[in-house]
Symmetry: C2
């Protein structure tokens, strides 16, 4: 199996956080349904504004070729090239209004992020890798799956096993992040903690 | 210490996911700076669209009374009542445009959610509890901290230790979530996996 690129952290973090990584090289084999259920269970218990749970997922498993190809067709071409080797593909969809009063939920996308992050922790613990994509075709997805107006397809999600072959070139570049001084402030904007 | 309300999950999930909970009762005592650094380090390694890392945090520790009161004043009154007992308060802020081309980043709020979820996992592993709030005063925060126009204060974040006293009433109600059939679909909208 190709190496997992663990984060080079400046401060100690949990293994489940450091090992999370979004590679391009996957080994196309099925994921057990029980594992998949646990992934969405982890998403399910995320917090959300007013416990609205404004997340929905449309899911396709590689064992069902027609369903998988259909979901794959909702990704931009550049993503289809590598995401076709995932075990499971999903679309992350937000409910843009509150169920109780129909008012806009300005935290819907944020809360989908919280839920999917839980899914990723659970996946990492199970030896799986998750690569999310902004590059999806929301209107195509809306049409193919009949997604209602007050919902918005926001993300593509590839879940799979690390490739056993030589990884594609993007997987060999170093992982980088801005230092904390660039995003953890106190007292005033841009004043590092 | 009051009990931690672990999620009653339908499928097995990691302890770090199940123990995550947003209570109202905190024990007001300081958090070590090293712990706080590890929390933001976990946030730092989150994935984001084009690795933009569109998250910023403004942070106040309870040991610095003036700074803490200032951040507390950016929460709506109902949240100030309980959040005043947190060890650390923070605001989660998004960069609404891409650094490289100035275009709107429609995944900014989502990616802040991914980052803060990492912070929460790290906090849970360290015996801390995190309670996020939508109820903040964004324009007050913008003025007090000089937050630029292309950034948006989106969340309040309370980080602390579980109260040793009797917990407030909201902490004794059961935790609930919709079943997976309500949000994990396949083939068509609202068709459960």
């Amino acid at each position: 199996m190709s190496e997992i690129k663990t984060a080079v952290a400046d401060h100690p973090i949990q293994t489940l956080i450091g090992r999370r990584w979004s590679p391009y090289g996957y080994d196309p084999r099925p994921l057990q349904r029980e594992d998949l259920r646990s992934l969405f269970e982890a998403a399910r218990w995320a917090p959300s504004a007013f416990n609205e749970q404004p997340w929905r997922y449309i899911v396709a498993e590689c064992g069902n070729t027609a369903a998988f190809e259909r979901l794959l067709s909702c990704l931009v071409e550049g993503n289809q090239v590598w995401a076709k080797n995932a075990s499971v593909l999903a679309l992350g969809v937000t409910k843009t209004t509150f169920a109780r009063n129909g008012k806009p939920n300005r935290h819907a996308a944020h809360d989908l992020g919280l839920a999917t992050a839980g899914l990723i922790v659970e996946a990492t613990a199970r030896g799986l890798l998750v690569h999310q994509m902004g590059g999806i075709l929301p209107e195509k997805a809306r049409e193919l799956y009949g997604i209602p107006e007050d919902f918005e397809p926001l993300t593509g999600i590839a879940i799979g096993y690390r490739t056993t072959a030589d990884p594609p070139p993007p997987d060999t570049t170093p992982r980088t992040r801005h230092p904390q001084a660039d995003f953890v402030f106190t007292d005033a904007w841009a004043a590092p903690l």
